[in-house]
């Protein structure tokens, strides 16, 4: 297998020392939620890794093909999770419920999305269950719905799946179609407090060799280490570019935040909003950045220059740190960074599922022109 561009080496195991880098790297791949729960989640994971020992991080190819595996993630809002932190047993409870149903014992955990808090809770779950973590995931970033995965595109069913809320209440979903599963879950997630621990896509390692995106956990650790160094923003972008392919498309100040700026599709969380950024150098363009739970498109003087499934994020130039979408303010000086997503998302099936049209922007993707 050919190593992905910018490959800087996988991590053999995850220790407590790796937690800050994992957190920062996970934020790069989904800069949606700020740091209101950072210290608590980091302390939780670091404590587990100190008590239970490091979690082995394995390439999918190195695991026996018949090893039962299951993915976990946080379903719902990171803000809700910060305000109603886990009791600590939710993820294991979700996994155990599927084990009882399928009469299996999972031999490895993998993140549904190696990004945001979801990347960390996969390590938490592996540490609690004392099983390895796979260096692979289903999104390579975060998308809004649970069937927006490489596994779904490869024909792997997300069900049976279990969501356990911070209230201790749980929901088991068994449906033939992935999109139905998400719709069934959303109402339940709101009822149990705005977030839930999800265990889904039970399968085996052999299937994941063809269906999951490889190397995405060690990638966030590598990106996180760069971010923690806090070099000069221009140096940081150059270094990030070397291992992620990201590039800066503009630097400017946020001048306006708008809400309900596009027609809303209520099946996707968070209403559409927009950001206006005035470029301070170069062409002094006016940028319009379209948001949902993630950035979905960037226009410069009216022309589309980046769009989903590209990963778009903002770097707070003054702080040398990622700007999270729940804490943006007019006046902030930001670099607009665009990173190509994993190749599967630019396929016709991938574009149909998570491309611009799925956000109500029926324009040709800039990478296809």
């Amino acid at each position: 297998m050919t190593a992905p561009a910018g490959y800087v080496g996988a991590t053999a195991s995850i220790t407590a020392d790796d937690v800050p880098a994992l957190y920062e790297g996970a934020k790069f791949y989904s800069p949606a939620v700020g740091d209101a729960g950072r210290s608590s989640v980091s302390a939780w994971l670091a404590g587990l890794l100190e008590r239970n020992g490091p979690v082995p991080l394995l390439r999918v190819e190195s695991v026996a093909p018949d090893t039962p595996c299951v993915s976990v993630c946080v379903l719902g809002s990171g803000s809700a999770m910060a305000d109603l932190p886990p009791a600590g047993d939710e993820f294991v409870a979700a996994v155990r419920q599927i084990e009882r149903l399928q009469r299996v014992r999972f031999g490895a955990i993998y993140p549904l999305a190696a990004a945001t808090i979801s990347a960390l809770v996969a390590v938490v779950t592996a540490a609690q269950l004392r099983v390895p973590l796979l260096d692979a995931d289903g999104m390579g970033r975060t998308f809004a719905l649970i069937h927006h995965t490489a596994m779904h595109l490869a024909g792997v069913s997300p069900t049976p799946l279990v969501a356990v809320g911070p209230t201790g209440e749980s929901v088991l979903v068994e449906v033939p179609s992935g999109p139905r599963a998400d719709r069934l879950l959303r109402g339940n997630v709101d009822t149990v407090g705005g977030w839930a621990a999800l265990a889904a896509y039970p399968t085996d390692a052999g299937t994941l060799r063809r269906a999951a995106l490889p190397g995405t956990v060690s990638r966030i650790a590598n990106v996180g280490r760069l971010l923690l160094d806090r070099p000069d923003p221009d140096v940081l972008v150059t270094r990030l570019g070397a291992i992620t392919g990201c590039r800066r498309v503009a630097r400017g100040r946020i001048t306006e935040l708008e809400h309900l700026s596009r027609p809303s599709d209520v099946t996707i969380p968070a209403h559409p909003s927009s950001l206006v950024v005035e470029e301070i150098d170069g062409l002094t363009r006016q940028l319009r950045i379209e948001l949902r739970s993630e950035i979905v498109a960037v226009f410069a003087d009216g022309a589309l220059i980046a769009g989903a499934p590209d990963l778009m994020c903002l770097l707070d130039v003054s702080r040398g740190a990622l700007a999270t979408l729940d804490s943006l303010e007019p006046g902030d000086l930001v670099d607009v960074l665009v990173t190509p997503a994993d190749a599967v998302w630019y396929s016709p099936e991938g574009m149909e599922m998570v491309g611009l049209a799925s956000h109500g922007i029926p324009l040709a993707h800039p990478r296809r022109r």
Partner: protein, 431 residues
């Protein structure tokens, strides 16, 4: 007749564990106050020397703004700091099953906590009840608490920013069980994150006795001095509040020094907008000033180990020099490296500070009209708060407002943050 603000001097004081520092600001003139032996360099001596200097320079001062943050931090971080034991009541649907989730990630915060209780209850971010309040557990708590001797209680409930009913019921029950207890409730501060909200109210309780002692002493000192100089207290966001407000919300004064230093540096450089590179232990920390106000966020104050929901200045390590070959960093505001002593910067920042308020909460909207209503409501409440903090009628303005959609939440969920500043109400001073 009330004095005009520009006719009189303003005094800024920063109180450090070892000694106090002060500066007198009169228009563009800044006079550092150096008590001459045998005058004392403690709070009393320095405030007296500053008032005398103001009389000499400008015929008098209208107010003394004190930065008590260094004393608060020192007390909190010293194991023998003499802070009172605090009990914490968490109101959540279920108690934590992991020891790390049951405690604060900050050692300094955890050290202040003598006893923890969990009572089942709480709401979600939009105020929907997740679990009825466990009144049986509350009764047990109220039976046990008086025997512990603890008189400072911090109460935090999930979702209390949206619906404080459970928090208030618990606080009322504790006050009935322990008359005279100092109870701090998280819904008074808004903000996001149970752990950050809990740390905020724990500090609020823990810092109360010291805050009262320090402010009593400052007020006694000013009462002995000629003139009618009022006392103000610097806030973490670089604004100020009245002593009576800080006595009930002492955590608001926590971490003020960084914001004051930023504003002091900008004032000395005669800049309204700039990036300030403050010297710290052999390196530079960068912060920003916009429209003469320090850029602040609810964040983790340096050295604390957890986030708080009261905003403080955002300081980040300035990277080393840029590698050769890179063009100068694109920027639209000047960067300054203040030469002045950091104590002087803090004193100047305190002297020129303005009354301020901050509000951070979650709301739900379904239309543009509803968004306007939510924003107006938040602005009005923040304006009322800044008036209570000492702003003159008619001088308040919205310094910052941002409303952002909360990612991965139900469509229509927004986070609203408002910062309001005003001009000092000089009628409060005799001049």
């Amino acid at each position: 007749m009330p004095a005009h603000a520009e006719d009189v001097a303003h005094i800024g004081v920063t109180l450090r564990p070892g000694r106090a520092y002060a500066a007198v600001v009169h228009g563009d003139t800044v006079v550092p106050v150096e008590p001459v032996a045998p005058a004392r360099a403690d709070a009393d001596g320095v405030i007296a020397a500053a008032v005398a200097t103001a009389t000499r320079v400008a015929g008098g001062a209208d107010a003394v703004t004190v930065d008590i943050a260094p004393l608060l931090l020192d007390t909190l971080l010293r194991p023998d700091g003499g802070i009172p034991p605090v009990a914490v009541v968490r109101i959540v649907p279920r108690a934590a099953t992991d020891p790390e989730l049951a405690r604060s990630p900050a050692e300094a915060v955890e050290r202040a906590i003598a006893r923890r209780f969990t009572v089942a209850g709480g709401h979600d971010l939009l105020g929907n009840e997740l679990c009825p309040l466990d009144r049986s557990a509350l009764a047990s708590l109220c039976a046990e608490l008086p025997g512990t001797g603890i008189r400072h209680v911090a109460v935090v409930a999930a979702g209390s920013q949206a619906r404080p009913a459970h928090e208030r019921e618990v606080a009322d029950a504790i006050l009935a069980a322990v008359p005279g207890a100092r109870v701090s409730v998280a819904s008074d501060y808004g903000g996001q994150g149970l752990v950050a909200r809990e740390a905020t109210v724990v500090l609020d309780c823990a810092l109360t006795p010291l805050t009262e002692r320090v402010l009593d002493r400052c007020e006694r000192t000013l009462a002995r001095l000629p003139g009618d100089v009022v006392l103000r207290v610097a806030r973490g966001d670089g604004g100020y509040s009245t002593p009576s407000r800080i006595r009930v919300t002492p955590v608001v004064a926590f971490g003020a020094t960084d914001a004051l230093e930023l504003c002091g540096a900008a004032h000395l450089a005669v800049l309204a907008d700039c990036r300030v590179l403050l010297p710290r232990e052999g390196r530079r920390l960068a912060g920003e000033v916009r429209h003469r106000l320090a850029v602040v966020r609810p964040a983790e104050p340096v050295g604390l180990g957890t986030e708080l929901v009261v905003p403080t200045a955002v300081l980040t390590p300035e990277p080393e020099e840029r590698p050769g070959g890179l063009p100068p960093r694109a920027a639209d505001v000047p960067a300054i490296r203040p030469d002045a002593d950091r104590y002087l910067l803090a004193c100047v920042g305190a002297a020129i500070s303005r009354p301020a308020s901050w509000l951070d909460e979650v709301a739900f909207i379904e239309s543009a009209a509803e968004l306007d209503r939510v924003r107006r409501d938040a602005e009005e409440r923040a304006t009322a708060m800044v008036m209570a903090n000492g702003a003159a009628p008619g001088t308040t303005h919205i310094a910052e407002i941002s409303t952002v959609a909360v990612p991965y939440s139900p469509s229509g969920t927004i986070r609203v943050r408002v910062r309001v500043a005003g001009a000092p109400d000089v009628r409060l001073a005799g001049g």
